[in-house]
Amino acid sequence: MSALTADGPLPGFADPVDDAQRIFRKVLDALAHPGRIVAIDAPADLPPGPLGRAALGTALALLDFETPLWLDEAASAARAHLRFHCNCPKAETPGGASFAFLGDPAVLPTLDSFALGTDAYPDRSTTLVIEVRALADDGDLTLSGPGIEDRTRLGIEGLPAGFWAKRAALAPLFPCGIDLILTCGDRLAALPRTTRVEE
């Protein structure tokens, strides 16, 4: 049963309700504790492209018909799969998306081309899910802010140079901003807009 051709949809969660709730809980945990790396164990089948299990599991758990999805060139092989399972509309521009999945962070669009939300509705912003080359507990980034007792460390490989400076430039716009979910294979860490990152 595993001889399915690569294009087109593949099976989603084996147990849609339990898997989606468990992964929702893990993503929530990651967002509440910025820098904490959590492991995602579903779905079993992955469409072609760079997106790993953590990114796909997050997509299957969080996307639905009300969340326009933007995929970069590298991740677009997963579109048919996500469209089938989540029924999510396609966002024509990054700014029209509730979720953006990026398979190749090297060609990341500028952060302010995504939706930042408005002062009245800061929740109407794009959540970026970026597949990075490596995630480590003890890296060269120092994180502080809500959800972190003092300071914590995180290592991320694969983001373009100058990324953190551009992200920091959005901080004065709070409550507007962009939440990041960084995925690497089966693991993910989250950096909500409130987290301060020092290199």
């Binding site: 049963m1 399915l4 087109g8 949809p9 099976p11 089938f84 399972h85």
Partner: protein, 136 residues
């Protein structure tokens, strides 16, 4: 799809078991039961209205080499939805075009026969009222 959805589960199961060669398939969306709103139109052509919700079971499968099949059936029979999805996918595959004559035509005929028998039974008790002015 309509013929598959309205067929008896036993008929589909028998045909599936009777196949010489059964394709490999994967469940994209295992059979699940939910509610759908049935809409109608007043007198068939008027304004649409919501008639009520019915229980429906849906399933989506994919054959090992390509086509995706969907089954939507009224009721809670999960196996029926799965079989309908499998046959729907097979009908899109050049290898199983014979199903059109082997199965679908047979289902259509047995349904038409059933319907005709039912109508004949009802027609037997028909009463024509004779009045001076018919209320038409």
């Amino acid at each position: 799809m309509a013929q598959l959805a309205k067929a008896e589960t036993a008929t589909l199961e028998a045909h599936w078991q009777g196949l010489d060669e059964r394709p490999d398939y994967a469940l994209l969306r295992p059979a699940e039961t939910g509610l759908v709103m049935v809409r109608g139109r007043i007198s068939g052509t008027g304004a649409p209205f919501n008639m009520g919700e019915i229980t429906m079971t849906r399933c989506a499968i994919r054959l090992a080499d390509g086509p995706v099949g969907f089954g939507h059936v009224a009721g809670r029979d999960r196996r029926h939805a799965e079989l309908a999805a499998i046959f729907d996918a097979m009908l899109q595959h050049p290898r199983w075009q014979a199903l059109n004559s082997d199965l679908i035509d047979r289902l259509a005929k047995s349904r038409a026969d059933r319907r005709q028998a039912e109508q004949a039974e009802i027609a037997a008790t028909r009463v024509d009222f004779f009045t001076l002015v018919r209320g038409e």
